[in-house]
């Protein structure tokens, strides 16, 4: 019997293809007769297009067509936003798609695009987040209720509870809007053939991408096939179909040739989505022993007028993280004339944890209490307001193990108490939390006569490790070696899968795969007992056992490959589906973690260095410690970016001044120390039989707070406005 690869640090099955450059991404596709598209985007932040002079572009070398609102493409639905590209002359934000040039080569399309002259009737955009806060509104969409008040008996308001608290801390926190900047820019190759459309495009949701494109082009969803075997990073920004994909597909239909469009880096900032800017006000009231009496957390998040996602900061963090007698969370949105706002790694938790976990640090300082002790003092064992326990919660162990691995006991509570040479040294910690999600997932298990198996679902591997995890789960359930399992994903024609987001892929795939494997084995058994050519013919099905790739009964056994070969079956297969798991009324489902970090700040020039970081994660069973660790490290890097580097500079006219990778800073290797990541690995079998939750996003949550808290410990400066740049510490 093959030893199960589950829980082992297995190398990525697609690793060799990626490092040798043989993994073909969307932009690597070159169907016959393919031509190139280059998008035209608006140069003003709001207004109407008066005219577009495309004559020079049309007569430029190699140009096949120019489409604009005046010569539009046939599109019926928008993509990722609440309007349809090229169907009107309205400019809703700076950098909006207003056309596409199609030419024989990329360079010809790009150079012709530069020849298009556009005249506008400009009107001033509402682009300033700060200016919009006074007129913010209560959101109507969103997954979390915008306002939650849970008050103790006899208490009439959260402010009353705060006023009655012996110790109160409060602060205003803020952070700019941010962009995902996946290494692979959004790319589409649209190829019409045989009455249908094949789209190569990096996406987190092949089936959803196919549906969105079909709706935009008035096609039957079955006519669109999306292929996305490799995705060069998504982070939430490839969960949604954006205008570039549908415009490219429509242009390909119009010119009768396959068309490839790859966004430029600046275009990825405006044609696709970004994370809200967030302002937060938080106040904590506690007793002298540290017991929380009141937690009041309000947030204002930017929301694009084009739609559709905003950061639900308090609702995803303060709503559930600590036990408190009185709780208020409130969320408002500032609607702006900016590019679409969308999901970005840990949407809500990323910003919410910054305010909450810094405020907890401020409270610990005010109480002269250890920050870990304060969190344990207010440890929640039931979900506030619903009073149900978590399916599996080991956050206390995260604190304990993390503190020990990191050496938290050496921390001095007084700021600026430790220096090495000209560098102040400080330590900080914070909690991480992220919901355990599970989305509708179907998996097909196919046993083949050659003794191999295919495991298939229309999921995506955006660097997450799903290729590998799928093979591991298949090998585990079928009891065969991993190299006999062929994973299949990244194809909308495969069994339906909601897509790779919400850190939910493994938790969705594992139980569906388990059921599909069992069903395939039942079909196999049926053949084994009923087919005369089978060595198990006539056996009682109830007495047939499947183990290590073979059926066993009455002292006889046959591998599935031999059985299928002997009985003339090329294959046997079964598909099973799982949906959201667990009874929500009885349990709450979250993953947890704790970060501990050390920073150094130069006493002369205030340069900030992250010098050490330890993260302990409680996310259920870990299927592959190697890819999981990779996921957590990537998440932590997002937190480092949030803390120290990232932020869009949105000018009053809506132009993003730093829409490129030289001016929009993300961490480089030199900024990041080796990361110490540890998994607790406690199975959550209430959540699903496989015991897995998810690891894509939780690594991000709390990192910025841990760093800001360490900065306070190093310098005595409490920075509440991100990113923490040198001028805030000088």
């Amino acid at each position: 019997m093959a030893d199960s690869p589950l829980g082992r640090p297995v190398n990525r099955v697609d690793g060799r293809r990626k490092v040798t450059g043989t993994a073909a991404y969307a932009a690597d596709q070159h169907p016959d007769r393919m031509v190139h598209g280059h998008l035209l985007v608006s140069d003003v932040g709001h207004g109407t297009i008066r005219s577009m002079d495309t004559a020079a572009a049309r007569s430029a070398p190699g140009v096949l067509a120019v489409f604009t609102p005046f010569e539009p493409l046939a599109l019926a639905a928008g993509a990722g936003q609440n309007w349809v590209p090229l169907q009107d002359t309205l400019v809703r934000y700076h950098g909006q798609v207003i056309g596409i040039v199609v030419a024989d080569t990329f360079e010809q399309a790009r150079d012709a695009a530069a020849l298009v002259r556009t005249d506008y009737d400009e009107t001033p955009p509402a682009a300033s987040f700060a200016a919009g806060i006074p007129t913010a509104t209560v959101p109507t969409g969103g997954w979390e209720p915008p306002v939650v008040d849970i008050l103790a008996d006899g208490v009439t308001s959260i402010d009353e509870a705060l006023a009655a608290s012996p110790v109160v801390v409060s602060g205003n926190y803020s952070q700019p809007s941010k962009h995902h900047n996946a290494m692979e820019p959004h790319a589409t190759v649209a190829d019409w053939r045989d009455g249908g459309l094949v789209v190569h495009g990096g996406t987190q949701a092949p089936a959803g991408h196919a549906r969105s494109i079909a709706a935009a082009l008035r096609l039957d969803p079955a006519q669109v096939r999306v292929l996305s075997p490799y995705v060069g990073g998504g982070f939430g920004n490839k969960a949604t179909t954006w205008a570039d994909a549908v415009v490219t597909a429509a242009a390909a239909r119009a010119v009768g040739r396959p068309v490839k469009t790859v966004l430029t880096r600046p275009q990825t900032f405006t044609v696709t989505g970004h994370r809200s800017a967030v302002a937060q006000a938080i106040a904590l009231g506690a007793d002298h022993d540290g017991t929380l009496i009141a937690l009041k957390h309000d947030a204002w998040s930017s929301l694009s007028g084009s739609g559709s996602v905003f950061e639900s900061a308090p609702g995803t963090t303060s709503r559930m993280l600590y036990r408190t007698a009185n709780l208020h969370v409130g969320q408002k949105v500032v609607t702006l004339d900016v590019p679409p706002s969308t999901f970005m790694r840990a949407p809500g938790e990323e910003s919410g944890s910054f305010a909450l976990e810094c405020a907890m640090d401020e409270l610990a300082t005010a109480l002269r209490m250890d920050p870990v002790a304060l969190r344990l003092k207010n440890y929640a064992t039931v979900l506030p307001g619903r009073n149900v326990p978590w399916s599996s919660k080991h956050l206390d162990e995260c604190y304990r193990v993390g503190a020990s691995r990191f050496g938290w006991a050496r921390r001095r509570a007084t700021p600026s108490a430790v220096a090495e040479g000209d560098w102040w040294v400080g330590m900080g910690m914070a909690t991480a939390v992220y919901p355990a999600n599970r989305f509708p997932t179907s998996v097909r298990v196919r046993l083949l006569a050659d003794g191999t198996a295919a495991v298939s679902t229309a999921s995506a591997d955006l660097g997450t490790g799903m290729w590998t995890v799928l093979a591991q789960l298949g090998a585990d359930r079928l009891g065969i070696a991993m190299d006999r399992v062929r994973p299949e994903l990244g194809d909308s024609a495969l069994p339906a899968n909601f897509g790779a987001f919400g850190s939910a892929s493994t938790a969705g795939v594992a139980p569906a795969l388990r059921d599909a494997a069992a069903a395939a084995v039942r079909s196999l058994t049926e053949i084994a007992v009923s087919d005369e050519r089978s060595v198990l013919h006539g056996a009682d099905p109830a007495g047939v056992e499947y183990r290590a790739g073979a059926l066993h009964a009455g002292g006889r056994s046959v591998t599935f490959g031999a059985l299928l070969t002997a009985t003339g079956h090329p294959a046997v297969e079964a598909t099973a589906s799982g949906g959201p798991g667990g009874p929500p009324a009885e349990y709450a489902f979250h993953s947890f973690g704790a970060h501990f970090c050390e920073v150094r700040v130069n006493r002369w020039t205030a340069e900030l260095r992250l010098s050490r970081i330890t993260t302990v994660v409680d996310a259920g069973t870990i299927v592959n410690p190697k890819t999981a660790r990779n996921q957590i490290e990537g998440g932590m890097l997002f937190g480092v970016g949030q803390a120290l580097f990232e932020g869009a500079q949105v000018e009053p006219n809506g132009r993003i001044a730093n829409a490129n990778l030289a001016d929009y800073l993300i961490p480089v290797n030199a900024d990041v120390p080796p990361m110490d990541v540890h998994f607790l690995d406690h199975p959550d079998t209430v959540f699903n039989p496989a015991g897995v939750r998810g690891v894509g996003e939780i690594g991000t949550v709390g990192v910025a707070a841990a760093i800001a808290n360490a900065v306070f410990n190093a310098t005595g400066r409490r920075v509440r406005d991100l990113p923490i740049t040198v001028e805030k510490l000088l």
Partner: protein
């Protein structure tokens, strides 16, 4: 990118005798090609000078000679440079990324264009790119812009780290033009923006930098290039200091100080040098001397911090040479 004529120069004479207007010399291409793709630079002709014999790194008694086509990485790693001119090696190693350093030439480094975001975006105004079209940075995003040497038409920062070190070392650039050869002190190479920010250097049309010469520092001189930036690699200086210091007993016998990231050109600081020379460099003395660095500084809405950061950077750099502290 606009169509252009591409040629390969056969000799320096061949290169400098081509008609100059609309001609751009191509060495490493790390600035020029970027700017052509952005349509910021639209040369009618591009002349590849990479085959010209402008190579070689030679150290003789009085100084160092670097061929203008030597790559940044080659210079940074050359034993003559690391042993005799560590300030240059340090400034180069703190520049750009390894990939860029492998491509970019020394001559090109000295002539690289500013990183100002408005200069690089043809949809906005920029007096440096299109004279008279305005300077959005003065009221706009100017956190990384200059506080020294600015004018009402331009506040763009000079981006080169190497140039700051060369200014501290009193280097000379050798230039070759149709009218012959001449030597130019590096401090004279760069012009203040004044009312003509599009004119950045004293090079005449068609003149080509062929060599950089650096006089040796007196024995016993210690030096450092301290670069403060938003991240630890692949990022321009918010502020940098090139300092070379020679002590006599407890007092400063000779000191050279130049600053980057704060000026519209590499900024030598004689007032700081004067205030330190002959003095015992205690922290208070150094800080007081460093305060002269910001004489005449004109901070903008987002870069006021550079006024303090420059003084702190110089202070830290000088003190690190005095007592060897990090």
């Amino acid at each position: 990118m606009r169509p252009f004529r591409f040629d390969v120069a056969r000799s320096v004479e061949d290169a400098v005798h081509r008609p100059a207007p609309g001609l751009a010399y191509l060495a490493g291409g790390t600035t020029l090609v970027d700017l052509m793709k952005l349509e910021v630079a639209n040369p009618a002709a591009v002349l590849d000078i990479n085959r010209l014999p402008l190579r070689g790194i030679r150290s003789d008694g009085p100084g160092l000679r670097i061929g203008a086509l030597e790559r940044m990485s080659a210079v940074a790693g050359h034993p003559a440079v690391t042993s005799g001119y560590p300030l240059l090696a340090e400034a180069l190693r703190h520049s750009a990324s390894p990939q860029v350093r492998n491509m970019a030439s020394i001559g090109g480094n000295l002539l690289q264009r500013t990183r100002c975001g408005y200069f690089r975006d043809v949809r906005t105004g920029c007096n440096k790119r299109v004279p008279g079209s305005g300077c959005p940075a003065i009221e706009g995003e100017n956190r990384t812009h200059a506080v020294l040497g600015t004018s009402d038409t331009c506040v763009a920062t000079h981006p080169s780290d190497l140039a700051v070190a060369l200014v501290a070392l009193d280097a000379t650039v050798l230039v070759h033009g149709a009218g012959g050869r001449r030597a130019l002190p590096i401090a004279d190479l760069y012009l203040l923006p004044g009312s003509t920010p599009d004119q950045e250097t004293a090079l005449r049309p068609g003149e080509l930098i062929t060599e950089v010469t650096v006089p040796a520092l007196p024995a016993g001189t210690r030096s450092t290039y301290l670069k403060i930036r938003d991240r630890q690699s692949y990022e321009f200086a918010l502020c940098s200091a090139a300092v070379a210091l020679r002590m006599r007993g407890r007092v400063v016998r000779e000191v050279r100080v130049a600053a980057g990231g704060v000026g519209t050109r590499p900024w030598r600081l004689p007032a700081v040098e004067d205030a330190l020379t002959g003095r015992a460099p205690r922290p208070d003395v150094v800080a007081a001397a460093a305060a002269h660095a910001v004489d005449g500084a004109r901070p903008l809405s987002q870069n006021r911090f550079k006024v303090l950061l420059l003084q702190r950077t110089i202070t830290r750099a000088v003190l690190s040479l005095v007592d060897g502290r990090g």
